[in-house]
Symmetry: C2
Subunit: 384 residues, 2 copies
């Protein structure tokens, strides 16, 4: 098995794109290749994610991207795993490169939804849940995650202020991130005063719908021994699943898929949570960040709220979480989210994160969840 | 690199499904595993294709399938490449197993569209083409393939009867296939009398919209040395792309992606077209089967019509093509089509093809095209 590096990564500003998805992802892919110091013709396989292609009536975007890059003969496929699509695509790229099936692979994710009305966008998002047993009865993601938040509050006494501390921290981080959808801090008062969406989740507990594009270039160490930027060594690339429907799960206070993936990833990387310098986790709602910290093994079940309130997960804290601002404030263009996490880690490793720079980065972990946890990816990155 | 086998394969009858896509694919996956003599818990990765999940409001089907199989913790992802989705999924499974990342992988494709009206179904299909440059100007697949047929006729003098000979042959084959959507033969007179859809393509030149499900179980030789059925050894698994939009291509009388993939596949399998006992090719329209035979190297450009009219591609001919009936008559449930081709090859290798059995099978080739050839997969299978 060959050692696999992330040699380039780039994204646009998440939020609202004027250009089409195909234009955005082509620009961003070229930027990621440029960051790696590679020409497009070094790419041997493209893994594209675009869950809501139907919103642009475009369901076969890979060949359009490759044509735009001037490499039409290169194979492409679309990889989807709901909100964890580009981390699933990164895993496929990892497998191809580690196994010697490609030397250089491109992972690209894009989403454009802002031209739709909110109802249409919500209905597309909801397709990640289970139609006959969840969505058709009115459940959408705010409601499903509110159920998880209620269970967490009932079992552990998690407070509104603890949930709010995630939102306040992530907005503060995003205010220092030029790629972020929301670039202004919020106060706890503003959080507590924001309208209730699905109790106990308020407006500021919820990530936004964002347009966005992000791309990652993956290569075998031996074919790019001197990349243009400091590479990320992929120390672990793990995916897992769990019971798809929430009503059938043995627990609602965490996501079993995160636990399965984390356990395997730490074994693969041969490190423990103590070794991780910072994390990008899947905080589609504030409760999701708390559950992630517990399921990934960074704090015992029920204690992530206190950990966050204490400041331990702030950029200057013990273990910074979502220095980018996370899905919550950086934004959540579904198919660009997983790759966007890697862009943050790439910039941190290259000391390009400005005011949100984490000092002394050794290892970083990216955690990306599909839907309510039917799928999960965990990647661990380290230095060469 | 490990030798990879197809150890099980199954499909339902293509056509109209009463049950949901999730029910159908779960049954068919269990049947494929049963054929392999494997329990579901031997599966280590599921690669699912379901291009029109939006038609069932279900965009994260992998975890639902794995949950139904009793293996919720197993990772899954959705692989799409328009009409070549399950052959792209098979390639991912091949890479995982050959590279040692999984011992057993499940490839599963399903489509359910028959509950939609024809306009909605057509509009979903058309998303495989390019919206701003093709579809938004009114192009749908019959029109795009009619353009290819016109170019072929203009350059090579291909006749209506030559196109018709593909339809007559494939309907005759499907009449012997209990899995086929259409199980009755048609005459050349019926073909020539069928209504014009997009000149020169008549109704009987076009494959149907079908519901359907098909699954393939892939395993490393070393972990399943004695499978329950005669396995297919994957001698080549190759994917390629080409310029996505037809208007930018240097030629309209063939599909460049097929040529790229075929050349590489024959090199990988270390055989030539002469060694191939029969083919399953992508005949979404009759012209597509003629182009496939030419692009794959089975006959010189412009001669596939005469070859077909001569009977050389019939089951008792020199090189049988689409003994299953092909997309044309077996049906084309987009995401089940590629896996369905493998089911036919599996049944042929196991002497279970009844009246459509090809004698003396040594090697078989499966050819699956995405859209108008922006993507293509070629797989070559042989005996152990």
């Amino acid at each position: 098995m060959r050692e696999v590096w992330v040699v380039g990564a780039a994204m646009n500003r998440f939020g609202k794109m004027r250009e089409s998805g195909r234009e955005a992802i082509t620009s961003v892919a070229l930027a990621a290749l440029g960051r790696a110091g590679l020409e497009p013709n070094s790419v041997q396989h493209t893994f594209l994610s675009n869950c809501f292609g139907v919103a642009e009536r475009q369901a076969h975007l890979g060949p359009l991207l490759n044509t735009g890059l001037g490499i039409p003969e290169v194979p492409s496929c679309t990889i989807e795993s709901a909100c964890s699509s580009t981390s699933a695509a990164l895993h496929e790229a990892f497998v191809h490169v580690a196994g010697g099936f490609a030397d250089v692979a491109l992972v690209a994710g894009v989403e454009k939804l802002s031209h739709l009305n909110t109802l249409a966008a919500t209905s597309y998002f909801a397709m990640g849940a289970d139609y006959p047993f969840e969505t058709c009865h009115g459940a959408t993601f705010p409601g499903l995650y509110a159920t998880l938040a209620n269970a967490h509050q009932a079992k552990f006494g998690t407070t509104a202020e603890e949930l709010g501390s995630v939102a306040v921290k992530n907005h503060a981080n995003a205010a220092m991130n030029p790629h972020a959808h929301f670039q202004k801090p919020i106060t706890m008062e503003a959080y507590l005063g924001s309208p209730m969406i699905a109790s106990p989740l308020r407006l500021y507990d919820c990530c936004p719908f964002s347009d966005g594009a992000a791309a990652v270039v993956v290569a075998a160490r031996e074919v790019t021994p001197e990349p243009a930027a400091e590479p990320l060594v992929i120390k672990a690339s793990v995916r897992s699943g769990s019971i798809a429907d929430m009503h059938d799960r043995p627990t609602l206070t965490g996501l079993p898929a995160t636990r399965f993936a984390a356990e395997k990833a730490f074994r693969q990387a041969k490190i423990t949570p103590k070794d991780v310098s910072f994390l990008e986790v899947h905080d589609c709602f504030t409760i999701a960040e708390l559950m992630a910290l517990e399921d990934l093994g960074f704090t015992p079940p029920g204690t992530a709220g206190k950990m966050t309130s204490s400041g331990a997960t702030a950029i200057d804290g013990h273990v910074p979480v979502n220095p980018s601002g996370g899905l919550k404030a950086k934004g959540h263009p579904v198919s660009a989210t997983g790759a966007g996490q890697v862009v943050e880690i790439f910039e941190q490793f290259n000391h390009e994160a400005g005011g949100r720079q984490v000092p002394n980065v050794e290892y970083a972990l990216a955690h990306n969840v599909g839907a309510t946890g039917g799928s999960c990816s965990v990647h661990i990155f380290g230095h060469r």
